[in-house]
């Protein structure tokens, strides 16, 4: 997707018709838009989002008032005006032109209200030059850049750290899976199971006789139960995330209460230590289980080993001569028919030698068995020793876990004590309530998961029985064959989905770590966990632990790093997909090139972070649009980005406030920034050439 041009008509601060052309060359891919506070940077960001999705970002004040004040001021009762945004872009070999309009009318009473719901039209022009109106504009836009991902590509840099919060994990995972085309497999599984298989099972019930009919009913019941449980599970997960987000807010608030700040910090540390100890204990239990499964038989082998040793000793203590006789020598003597002394062997002598050879083999075997036995005894001792060590470590970790939990409880009691003030007491009470709710929600989730397993097992059982049925009716046999094929294809989708999901997560995590490390000042590492959480981690006494209380700036860098990672991976996928198509293969993942549109990406950052972010942002996406105030556009930022700037604009704020005029230095020139005017307040988009 490459943004070409945006036309804004009477939208928020932007009166009349105004146009922005975007830099789109490889070497000069940055468009910079300078704007004073209130000049319309956030409104401009929202112009993109509103045009494409009919939505606005949470930080846009009064989102229903889109018509510019200047246009409103000119309306007489009964007259209408339109707020409009028109965005042109290239995507997937088409040129798109998206128009969204909102009509407003001044009523007889004097208010200005929306006439109807805003409308969107999408036109696209193919390589051949033919232009068509797209029948399902919203769907078309969603296919190019899904709505649930827009916060990753059009964002306010000062709020982007919200991506790193618990309530964003599901969005992060969904965003990753949709953008990187992995979601297509999960959808395929869902549709094959709930649509195709359900249909085939019903058909089998119709054609296959009474037994098939009963099995089809069992299947349908279990499927309905599964759907019910999935909905419940989604609800509980959403509750869980909301509670975790609330807990984070409460913890952040507690950290700001002076009387308990130290106690809160200690409690965070103790909670982390308890969590680590619990995780270590879990890891030890897994190791014990593996030890048991591989070598557990040795624990029961002692009596057997002793008996075997006794038997072997008895063999060994037998005729001492047998121990010293080589079976191979005996075999050679028998086959040559001649004794060592040269005499020809008679039949009875051969028989005697054969008996001796057999006896010698037994002794030989006994010797080897004794050696093996000795090795087994050694392994048994080693196994016992390993188990004891693991047990000791487990006991230690459990003890640590208990200790840190007790410490946490004590600290919580202190934090919530009335002597620390009402605010701390109130926050602590809320925290305790939320923790209880969280625990209850987790129990519900476990219950739902268990019930889901049962429902899925019931479906599989019904399907397995249907597969095994010996059917007479030809139609029933055909349906059975189709159902089996659909099941195998569904299994393939599930396996590939899991492969892709984890592979994508791993690669994103590696790239995230690389991008974060290039920008970060502290010795933290950034990862995308198994459940798609953005995590910062650090080494404490040789152990890898999560960072508690990362600053807003650090979360901002983390979120920016993640967005950059996503854009990079989508572009990689697109390149790989094109190679596949060129080679005649079916591409399993699509991907795409996406721009980044950022309002104030440098706001909360220290100078070090600013310059690093400024250096890597242009490399993360094929096209970058940055909206900045004067204070954000400082030397280190400008010098890092200057060479890659293809277009530069100023949002010239026109205000009736006397003495408000200001200028801004853009590429060595002083240009108007705030202009005194006599009319309504408005903004003009002026290109600096």
């Amino acid at each position: 997707m490459k943004l070409l041009e945006m036309k804004i008509v009477n939208f928020r601060q932007f009166a009349g018709e105004q146009t922005i052309l975007f830099a789109a060359e490889r070497a000069k891919n940055i468009t910079v838009i300078h704007g004073y506070n209130g000049a319309g940077k956030t409104a401009l960001l929202n112009a993109f989002v509103w045009c494409l999705y009919g939505k606005t970002t949470p930080d846009l004040d009064q989102p229903n008032r889109l018509l510019s004040e200047a246009a409103e001021a000119e309306l007489v009762p009964g007259q209408e005006a339109t707020a409009e945004v028109r965005l042109k872009f290239d995507a997937r070999d088409f040129k798109y032109d998206v128009h969204r309009k909102a009509r407003y009318r001044r009523s007889q009473e004097g208010g200005v209200d929306a006439v109807d719901k805003p409308r969107v039209e999408v036109f696209r022009t193919g390589l051949g030059g033919a232009t068509e109106s797209v029948a399902n504009p919203e769907v078309q836009i969603n296919q190019i850049l899904p709505s649930n991902l827009h916060r990753f590509f059009f964002f306010n840099g000062e709020r982007v750290e919200a991506i790193a919060r618990p309530d964003a994990y599901e969005d992060v995972e969904e965003g990753v899976k949709t953008l990187l085309d992995v979601e297509i497999y999960a959808r395929s599984v869902r549709h094959l199971q709930t649509q195709a298989l359900a249909h085939l099972t019903t058909a089998l019930g119709t054609f296959g006789g009474a037994e098939s009919s009963a099995l089809a009913e069992d299947y349908a019941r279990a499927q309905a139960r599964e759907a019910e449980l999935l909905e419940l599970q989604a609800q509980q997960r959403s509750n869980e995330q909301a509670i975790e987000a609330e807990l984070q807010v409460i913890d952040d608030s507690l950290r700001r209460v002076g009387s308990v700040r130290d106690l809160v910090a200690k409690r965070s540390e103790a909670t982390l230590q308890a969590k680590n100890a619990a995780a270590n204990a879990m890891a030890i239990r897994h190791r014990q289980a593996r030890l048991l499964s591989r070598h557990g038989y040795l624990a029961l082998a002692a009596p057997v080993l002793e008996r075997a040793a006794a038997l072997l000793r008895a063999v060994d203590e037998g005729d001492v001569h047998r121990r010293n006789v080589s079976p191979h020598l005996v075999d050679e003597l028998i086959s040559s028919g001649t004794c060592l002394c040269g005499r020809t062997l008679g039949p009875s002598e051969e028989d005697c030698l054969r008996a001796l050879g057999a006896s010698a083999r037994t002794a030989d075997g006994a010797t080897r068995a004794a050696a093996e036995l000795s090795s087994l005894r050694t392994r048994r001792l080693q196994y016992s020793s390993d188990l004891r060590e693991e047990q000791a470590r487990l006991a230690q970790e459990l003890q640590d876990c208990r200790r840190f939990r007790e410490e946490t409880d004590e600290l919580s009691a202190k934090i919530g004590h009335p002597e620390n003030g009402e605010q701390a007491e109130d926050l602590e009470r809320r925290r305790s309530t939320e923790h209880r709710r969280l625990a209850e929600t987790k129990v519900e989730l476990v219950r739902a998961e268990r019930d889901l397993d049962l429902a899925r097992t019931a479906q599989r059982d019904a399907q397995t029985k249907m597969d095994k049925q010996q059917l007479q009716d030809e139609r029933a046999k055909l349906v059975q064959r189709r159902a089996q094929a659909v099941r195998r294809v569904t299994d393939a989708f599930e396996q590939i989905y899991e492969l892709q999901r984890q592979d994508v997560r791993r690669k994103l995590s590696d790239k995230l770590s690389e991008i974060w490390t290039s920008a970060a000042v502290k010795d933290y590492s950034a990862t995308l966990s198994e459940d798609f959480r953005l995590d910062l981690r650090k080494k404490v006494a040789g152990r890898d632990v999560p960072v508690a209380g990362a600053s807003t700036g650090e979360k901002q860098i983390l979120a920016l790093s993640f967005v950059g990672t996503l854009v990079w991976k989508a572009a990689e996928n697109e390149r790989a997909s094109r190679e596949d198509v060129a080679a005649g293969n079916v591409p399993l993942v699509a991907g795409g090139q996406y721009p980044l549109v950022m309002d104030s990406p440098f706001g909360a950052l220290e100078d070090d972070y600013r310059s690093k972010v400024a250096e890597w942002i242009p490399t993360l996406a094929n096209q970058v649009i940055v909206m900045v105030s004067k204070t954000q556009w400082r030397d280190e930022v400008e010098s890092a980005m200057r060479e890659r700037i293809g277009r530069e604009y100023v949002l010239e704020l026109h205000t009736p406030k006397a003495g408000a005029q200001r200028t801004i230095d853009v590429a060595g020139r002083q240009v108007p920034y705030v202009v005194e005017t006599t009319g309504a307040e408005l903004t003009r988009i002026v290109e600096v050439v």
């Binding site: 959808r187 395929s188 189709r482 989708f493 590939i496 492969l499 690669k507 399993l588």
Partner: protein, 58 residues
């Protein structure tokens, strides 16, 4: 296969090769349906899926 990681490619290929020819065709058609028809409502999607299954598995 579009993924450059050989291990993933190999494993994906192995999964697909374990399917019959008909089933692999069904797999590709379902991928295309999902990718290109986000605009379809549920009944239309169901009808299209069933049509693909019946056309592919004979």
């Amino acid at each position: 296969m579009s993924d450059k990681d050989p291990a993933i490619k190999d494993r994906t290929r192995a999964i697909l090769l374990a399917l019959s020819t008909e089933e692999r065709t069904l797999f590709s058609l379902v991928v295309r349906l999902e990718r290109e028809n986000l605009h379809l409502k549920k009944p239309e999607l169901k009808a299209e899926l069933i049509r693909i299954v019946e056309a592919t598995i004979k």
